[in-house]
Symmetry: C2
Subunit: 582 residues, 2 copies
Amino acid sequence: MLRSNTCGALRLDNVGESVTLTGWVQKVRDKGGMIWIDLRDRYGVTQIILQEGTTEADVIEIARTLGREFVVSVKGTVVERFSKNNKIPTGEIEIQPISIDVLNESKTPPFTIEDETDGGEDLRMKYRYLDLRRNNIREKLVLRHRLMQVTRRFLDAQNFLEVETPILIKSTPEGARDFVVPSRMNPGEFYALPQSPQTFKQLLMVSGFDRYFQIVKCFRDEDLRADRQPEFTQIDCEMSFVTREDILHTFEGLTKQIFKELKGVELNDFPIMSYDDAIQYYGSDKPDIRFEMKFNDLTEVTQNNGFAIFDSAELILGICASGCAQYSRKQIDALTDFVRKPQIGAKGLVYVKYNEDGSFKSSVDKFYSQDDLKTWADAMHAEPGDLLLLLSGDASATRKAMNELRLHVGDLLGLRNNSEYQPLWVVDFPLLEWDEESERFHAMHHPFTSPNKEDWSKLDTAPGEVKANAYDLVINGVEVGGGSIRIHDRPTQEIMLSKLGFSKEEAIAQFGFLMDAFEYGAPPHGGIAFGFDRLCALLGEVESIRDFIAFPKNNSGRDVMIDSPSPIDATQLEELEINIKN
Amino acid sequence: MLRSNTCGALRLDNVGESVTLTGWVQKVRDKGGMIWIDLRDRYGVTQIILQEGTTEADVIEIARTLGREFVVSVKGTVVERFSKNNKIPTGEIEIQPISIDVLNESKTPPFTIEDETDGGEDLRMKYRYLDLRRNNIREKLVLRHRLMQVTRRFLDAQNFLEVETPILIKSTPEGARDFVVPSRMNPGEFYALPQSPQTFKQLLMVSGFDRYFQIVKCFRDEDLRADRQPEFTQIDCEMSFVTREDILHTFEGLTKQIFKELKGVELNDFPIMSYDDAIQYYGSDKPDIRFEMKFNDLTEVTQNNGFAIFDSAELILGICASGCAQYSRKQIDALTDFVRKPQIGAKGLVYVKYNEDGSFKSSVDKFYSQDDLKTWADAMHAEPGDLLLLLSGDASATRKAMNELRLHVGDLLGLRNNSEYQPLWVVDFPLLEWDEESERFHAMHHPFTSPNKEDWSKLDTAPGEVKANAYDLVINGVEVGGGSIRIHDRPTQEIMLSKLGFSKEEAIAQFGFLMDAFEYGAPPHGGIAFGFDRLCALLGEVESIRDFIAFPKNNSGRDVMIDSPSPIDATQLEELEINIKN
């Protein structure tokens, strides 16, 4: 190695040693007779000290030529610092150099390489290799590395086999849009990049692999919202001879291990909530249960009092903000403005202050007596000092808006602490979802999800009521993973595909290989996939996944650093036998 | 779990226990009063025994309906076997069932699910999910799994960070052909799939990541030879502040650890051989050094004796096959036929038998005296009883042919034992290779490889003589890995690209981002990549990589199981704004 030690290694114990350090110049402070250099590498920062009279003149001369981000090699002796810095692990020592060699110079970086940088998003992405030098970005990728190692060690110890499934597969029109790859050897034909290894992992179960996992790249050609990437990573798992409970137990174990090793947090056993309850009490299939504030259905106790808005509503919901009865006019107005935002979509907000003296003050005092309001408060188990917030309208829209309001109030009250974790299994999802636009059912998870046994008979008569043997892992309101027990026989798979609108021919063309496989002794099986980027962000206690990806793409799917995608040579197009339309 | 134990778990200690096993019916033997079922899963085989009088009649009835590969659940009691089978770990016990449930039936498989199958390659690939059920195929994938875990544990412990680099990158005309992916959001533009993460891992070094690794899929759109796959896997690594010796030391350590954990073999320190020596003594840059039989240059001692074939040859090489002087006419003829095969390409073979009595018998006795032949034998350090084999002609072709002959004779003499391992570092490769067809230099490794320092001055005057600071790891004649110390400054990279025929504009368009990065404090760095599939095959002691890949493609790049590549919808083409040529 060109170094004897890293910049994070030396301590008081090393005083007197001759060392060679290499790294980047973080900072040079030149006070005339004394020069300090902060030398940085991945492992830390070590101070170099030069002093006229003590340090050789030529070494001082070199030090004076150093700029930010120069790469240097420093030979010298470890000495005890006079004024120690207890903020860094190497803060008790410094290096008196006998030589400094410049290994590479650096132009002035376009933004500062500090935790708080002056670089905007676009500039940081163009110079991502400099952005990655910042400690807080690198730490996110170190966390990602550690998450990968913990995950694999856990699953390996549980007899899961890591199997690589192909990246060049077959396009299927179901689900999101595929990226496709023209085949030169088979002109006019295309591979597709996988949206998930779903069918392959099921085939591995048919093969008797028993337990499979992979940390794997998946691809979706979707219009990118703020926090989506065209390529993303999954922890993908499948098990044979299991029930839902076995899967929940195994991956609750993995999740606990991850939080223990990476966060030092011992998670309690995860509660299980039905999809119906999640919708009823939280208006969301991924409720944040770090705080209560459940929905109360007030339709019955509020209607038929002459308040037209409520009387014409399909659903009236209330939540109780504890101890907020003293909210000011301005605070209430802000909440009203919040729910009226187009992305929330409520027309207005009804509030009821349950004063400390037991009286009520509401925005609907014209229509409701103190007794009426007491009835509401009792229905919500509210206490004096609380603030009741009501939304009304179409059932589904009201639930959605109330979910947003609940989370917003949770934020205001400081109930959503990013370093507190409340995992939750949500189960018994609907198997099928009616799509108004295409006028047909879609699979809520995917076409391979098994219906719950007891609902099987309803598949023909009331398909919308059939529950799936599917489950999501939700932590702090974030969907971290999801999966299901799968269909493992051909007749059921055929019925499922027909319900989804596949003709018999389409079903065979797309999934014939899987249904064929089911006829050769397919075991009962099920699995789960975790969104790896999302899990990283959750563990990193931030919202955005982007900084957990070394080289992310922007919202137009571009890598602005390497300038990709880009035009290709005419000869390449010719070999592929494709044309670009004009 | 639907089982209490796996089919590989039960021993004498478990006798008397009530258990539930699940698995596949391997075999049913029905001897009338007694029925034996071999029940198989990933973990082993357990025998089920049914006996009229002891076993309930309805259970016997079910047993008689079972076919090969049915999936069943068997409840019963563990009993000691009367006649034990010491070939399997569960051979001392068997199960007396109280119930057998068929979890799934199976059609008769198209080939037998045994180590020695009656299925041909095509059939096995179409039903790969059944082929993967065979123990010897699954074991190969278990080996692959273990190799992945060992590799990551070792590198993690050495402070390497696993970083995922993007799969959707930018096409570069240098090197093999890229697979490309049309971009819908950027019509007329394409992503490319990476042939390796080369530039990204170098950028991570510029970012100060210090040590990087990844076990990563790479892609090449090449015409597939027997044992190439369009997608393949690499162990990809890069380190900063290193010399060549640091890299060799680190990855010799990894290789030793792999062989220790997976093969129980303690490898000796790896010898280092220069490329020039490898070519001179073995005619190959990946010599198999499990046996000596080095080339001897006999040009000087054989020429100018009137034997026209030798006299007109550029090079005359000899190898010495120890103890083969008694080879028969037929055996010698077979060797001659071997070297004359079109893929070897020699015109003929000269042999000299060094008889036990000290006399010589050769195919060129007309031209050479016994004394002449003694001179040859001495030049080759041959002893009585040895057989000398000589090839002659154009230097490069003769070396190539002699390499093949040497390996062939090594095989004949049993000197190439697949369970013996002889690793070797080959170093000091030429930096550039002259390509006759395009009349320009190509990079022998790739354009980012650093020249050896002492050869730097020759880059302008004698570019073909410049050695690269590059190295290959060769084990048993197989190139397992390769890498180099990289160029880490813009001026050198610019010169290198210009020598490779890039115009300044092309160089910037392709690799501008990397050369820009070199201007912001790039550290000295180098790395290596291991061919993961090839390493698996080596550890598995077989030639072909295909069975170490769960779902391989055939020589036309097709996955015959899922029938991919395949045509895609017209709407997909429309969205991508491309046409297929007619």
